[in-house]
Every structure is written in structure tokens, then in C-alpha cells.
Symmetry: C2
Subunit: 344 residues, 2 copies
DNA sequence: GGGCGCCTGTATAACGTTGTAAAAGTCAGG
DNA sequence: CCTGACTTTTACAACGTTATACAGGCGCCC
């Protein structure tokens, strides 16, 4: 049987509320009393019942983190950061995954998957602005990632357009002249994707081709999707001398195809990925990648959610840009210089 | 302001309990009444307050899943399975990670990280049997993975010894005679690790060496640890013709080192990993691996936890063996036969 | 030394839900 | 038309916690 405040109160010979005061570190409790009560607490092994506390306070101490998929190490690592950041504020993280499917994302954003949370951090893929506009839910929502909505919600991301341009710029600086893009979203309005836009802008600015034949749309964002997309481009007979991939797994999938077709990376085709997952540092050819500051993104996301729980004036919805940098590895080595070992 | 049963009851002109009965699909409610109440529910947008429900019922509808680290795709994928399996029973998953550190694992097993859960699924690394023996917590606990305790808790795992033996057997069948093991736990009683034991047993049975010079202990289980362990073995001058790694990331890390040192896989050194993560299917050399039935493990874990919440007699603690199979890929190709493409 | 205010501790009422038990309603049979 | 058996609905009391308002006790100042 679980012990409650009542039991402790009886044991210590004081009122329930006094025990509660001790538990909550209420200011006006004499040291002697605090000591006495604490002993009863320890003796009985009392632990607060959170459900009751939540009912009373209207807070649960839980925030939800909804990601497209955990299989992508970027999201897995991000989840780890968020869990730790939340723990630092005594919050616990409920994890959900949407598969990047709009229907699931709507469900999550409306709070139907988890109705027990104080706040929600959502990394949307297919979700449309309209889905959020008539959101009846009143739990604070913070958005993460590449999608860009003009809505009054906090949004934490890196500047995807600029990051993509930097990646493409890097390829151009290497002397590459035909840069393919792998991982455009199939069946969606293309400009909504900031990374494709950055790719296009930078190529156009350099007077290089950015036609549709260089873009491979995909359904998912895993290794297999990257491999399929790469294969598709090669089948058309096109021979780009560089590839910019939507993310690292896709880049790695593409490299696998190139390897099997006897094309060398980076000599024949240079590749840049996105997210800088660990895996990219340990292939036969290590992967150059845009490295978002995951640590900052996770921390900022948690802080943004919690800032809206303070009770006071909710802060203005804000768009926060996290840092990023381009990490150069073997997949874009300029010449035959032997790179350093694995680690970047 | 959030609407409660009281508001709906007032709106529909019935008692609170009747609304509750409708919400809970209580048997004895006339269709007409059900209809009327339902309309009020819809009109007001009522959603049950879970905190209150939990307080009343003593259940929260949340189970915790504590894994060593999310960065390892095996655990990430497992988490995805568990989340889905739990959702199928209307349960929600609170995710925690322990870093494989004993201290954290103890905290989790004692319920100090999340005190709001109905059950706990824990995949321990360093946790000792004694830590569990004086576990005062009464939430059901299910253990996952390679650690083997003689304690009255459900334990879901594959037969790690047999799986390891199968992996080593495969290498021996290939004609390899000196099989190293990468990823023994540094500073812990070695026999506790079933995979090392399987490795040793199979080699001994075949009359092959299984001395300490072939075992590389590590602190972690990531790519970098595998790379470091491989490098360490090679530094001793030893030249095994095969490697069995504790898991896939370590195997991939090891392959990176071999590649840089000009050793060919599988010609010079064959490699088998463990866990069959996606990543292993897309390297320049695809990775042979022991593939546990993650789907089954996740599902069984959830079912085992929930079975202990039924209220009736708790079932006997049981040890459940999930399926596994050895997936052969390029890293152990018998001859120069060109493997099929990436996908296994 | 009495009154005032501050500091501690206490009784009680919520928070929103569901289980229990009893009240009200329905219907058939005598 | 009444009785009894059953069905449907209701009132009320929990679950364990914290907020509010209040009752003592003590010291301080006049």
C-alpha cells in the first residue's frame, strides 16, 4: 500500500498540510518541525502522488516531443538532448512519433495522442498551416525544423536556406558544376522546402543549372530512399559531379549506389549531407555535412515551451535561429589529400 | 477554460455521473440519453481530464521505457516499436535514457525519474542484481536485453549465447581461424556478458583460440568505441582473420579502421555485427549481423508489463525468448561473389 | 502589561473523475 | 391498481494533493 500525506501526518502527529509544506519546502516551517516531519517521511518512505498533485495544480510535469521518426539518428539524438534539457527543469518527456504523416501530426498537435501534457514540441513534415490555425488545444506548442509556418507559434530551427546555400557553395568552390538535389518532398509544393530553395538559389546565383532533372523527389528520408533517388538520377543518363542530400542517411544511401556503380566519391561525385549524424563519420568515405547545433535546438525548444507555462504574460511567439556549421570530410575532399582519421 | 463533466452535465441537464457513464460507455444508458449527452459533449468540446481520472483509478495510462542510449539505432527502432505497441493498448510511452550508467539505472528502476507510471520497461547495462533485489517500488518491471538476472522479473530477450555462437560458427564455417571479439564490458565480470560467452564457447568447441588477446574491452558501444577497440587489437600485432562485434555500430567503426589501414573486408578480415541496424545495409561493404526480432521484443515487453496491470493474479515471472536470425551480407562473403545490392 | 503584528501550524474546501449505493422510473403479472 | 423485479439515473464520497482562510503563540512596542 502506498503511503500518503495522511499517513505521514498521523505518524508525525501533525496536520496533513504541514507535511505538504515540508515536502514543498514552504518557507515558514521551523527547523525542528521540518526535521520531525522529514523523519516520518523517511521512515514511511513517502513519495508524492503525482496524479493528485497534477489534478490540484493543473500541471503534469510532462511535455511531449513528437518527431517524424526515431530511426533517423538525428531525431534520436535530438530526443536525447530534449530529455536531458527537460530533466534539468524537473520535466519528463513523453515521446511520440508521427511517421511524418499529416494525419498523425494533426492528431498530435490537437493533443489527441497524449492528453496529459503541459506542452508540446513538434517537428512537422507534412502538417499544413491550416491544420494549426484551427487548433483548439491550449497547451503551448513549439515547432521544430525545416517547415516554415507564418503562425503565432515559437519555431526553433537553423536557417535552412542559408545552410543549404553554404553546402552548395562549398561544392561550387570545389569546382563542381552540376549539383543534384536528393530528397525533395514528393507531391508537395516544392518551394515550401527551404533546403531545395537554398540549393536552387545558390546554383542560380552562380549561373549553374538547377533544373528539375537534377532534383529527385522521394517519399521517405531513409537510406533506401536516398539510394533509390540516386539510382533514378543516374538512370536518366545525367552525370552530376556533386550531390546535395536532404539528410545524412539519404546521402549515405546514395553513396552506396555510387560505390556499386563504380563511381568514386569524391573524385567523380562529391556529396554533402545534412544533420551530421555519427554514422557519417565512419563510412569508408566519411561524409561532409551541415551540422545543426542539436544541443541548442533541444535546449531552446524545452525552454520555449516552459516559458509559456510560467503563468505570467506569455512571451511573443518568436522564431529562434540555432547555429549550424559545415563539417568537411572526405566526401568533398578538394584533392587527393588523405583526410585525417574518421573523427572530424 | 477547460470544460469538465460538470459543465457538460449542466448543458445537457443531467447529472455528472450520467455524463461519465456516457464517456465510459457504461452499459445501462438509453440510446436517447446517450445521444443527448453526446451532443453536449461535442458542443462543448469536452475532453476528459486524465490527471483526475488517474487519481481516481490509480492508473495513469503511461509506461516508461528506459534505454541505455537513443543514439544507437537499435534502441531507437525498438523505442518506435514499443510506442506503437503501447498505443495499440491505449498506453503512452515515457522515454528515458540511462546512458548505460548504473546510477541512472538504479534511479529509474526505483521510480525516481518518473513517478507517474504504471509500468516500466528497462534495458539495463550496468545494473546489478542486488540493485533490483531491494527494489521497494511496486510498479511492474520488465527487463530487456543481454543482461541476465536470476530475479523474479519478466525478461524479454533473444538467446544471446546461442546467437553469438551462431555468428561465430558462421565465421568458422567460412574458414576463419582467429576470431576477435570487440566490445566486452570494461571493468565488469566478464561471464555476465552472454555474447562474449557465446563467442568463447563456440571457439573452444571448435578447438580455436579464445584468449584475452582477442578480446577488446570498451567503455561505450558506439562507432568510436568499436574503432578504438579494433585499432588496439591491431596495435598488438595480432592479425585476426575475423571479428565479432558486440553490436553493429562497433562493427562499422571497426570496419572504418580496417579500411584506413588497407585491410580488406571480408577478404582479409570478415566481420559480423549484432542488432542488424539499417545503417549496416548501406556501407561500402554491407554488414553481416545477428538480427533480433525487434518487433516481437517490443510487443512482448509491452504485453508483459500490461499483463501485470490487469488486477488479477500477477502471472509468474517469465523469461521470454524472442526470435533472431543471422543475416549474411558482404562483410562475410565466402568468396569474391558480388553480393546483391545493399538491401539484404 | 496590553494590544498589535508576525510567524507557525491547522481545518476545510477544492481539483475532476469514478465507484457505491440508493432513488427514481419502467414494466409485467396478479 | 398494486407489487415486485429490473433498469436507468442520481447523490455522495472518495482518490491525494495544495490554496485559502483562519486560529494560536510569541515577541515587540508603546
Amino acid at each position: 500500500m502506498r503511503v500518503s500525506l495522511k499517513d505521514v501526518a498521523a505518524h508525525a502527529g501533525v496536520s496533513i498540510k504541514t507535511v505538504s509544506n515540508v515536502v514543498n519546502n514552504y518557507q515558514h516551517v521551523t527547523p525542528a518541525m521540518r526535521e520531525r516531519v522529514q523523519q516520518s517521511i523517511d521512515a514511511l518512505g513517502y513519495r508524492p502522488n503525482l496524479a493528485a498533485r497534477h489534478l490540484r495544480k493543473g500541471r503534469t510535469g510532462i511535455i511531449a516531443l513528437a518527431l517524424p521518426e526515431l530511426g533517423n539518428p538525428y531525431f534520436a539524438e535530438l530526443a536525447a538532448v530534449v530529455i536531458d534539457a527537460a530533466a534539468a527543469h524537473d520535466y519528463i518527456v513523453l515521446l511520440d512519433h508521427t511517421g511524418g504523416r499529416r494525419e498523425q501530426e494533426v492528431l498530435v498537435s490537437q493533443g489527441f495522442r497524449a492528453r496529459v501534457i503541459d506542452g508540446l514540441i513538434l517537428s512537422p513534415i507534412e502538417l499544413e498551416a491550416d491544420d494549426l490555425r484551427d487548433r483548439a488545444e491550449n497547451v503551448p506548442l513549439v515547432l521544430l525544423g525545416e517547415r516554415d509556418y507564418d503562425l503565432p507559434y515559437d519555431h526553433i530551427a537553423i536557417d535552412n536556406v542559408a545552410a543549404a546555400r553554404a553546402a552548395v557553395r562549398h561544392l561550387i568552390d570545389l569546382g563542381r558544376r552540376e549539383v543534384a538535389f536528393i530528397g525533395a518532398r514528393r507531391g508537395h509544393s516544392e518551394p515550401a522546402q527551404l533546403r531545395v530553395r537554398g540549393w536552387r538559389e545558390e546554383l542560380s546565383a552562380a549561373g549553374l543549372p538547377a533544373d528539375d532533372g537534377l532534383v529527385a523527389a522521394t517519399d521517405g528520408w531513409g537510406h533506401a530512399d536516398g539510394a533509390a533517388a540516386m539510382a533514378r538520377i543516374l538512370e536518366t543518363g545525367r552525370r552530376p559531379d556533386a550531390v546535395f542530400a536532404y539528410n545524412d542517411p539519404m546521402a549515405i544511401g546514395a553513396m552506396r549506389v555510387l560505390h556499386r556503380q563504380g563511381l568514386r566519391v569524391p573524385e567523380d561525385i562529391a556529396i554533402v549531407g545534412f544533420d551530421d549524424v555519427v554514422e557519417g563519420r565512419f563510412g569508408a568515405v566519411t561524409l561532409t555535412s551541415v551540422s545543426p547545433d542539436k544541443e541548442a535546438i533541444g535546449r531552446l525548444a524545452v525552454e520555449s515551451v516552459l516559458a509559456r507555462l510560467g503563468g505570467g504574460e506569455p512571451p511573443e511567439p518568436r522564431r529562434v535561429w540555432a547555429d549550424y556549421r559545415l563539417v568537411r570530410r572526405e566526401s568533398t575532399l578538394g584533392r587527393a589529400a588523405p583526410g585525417r582519421d574518421g573523427q572530424d
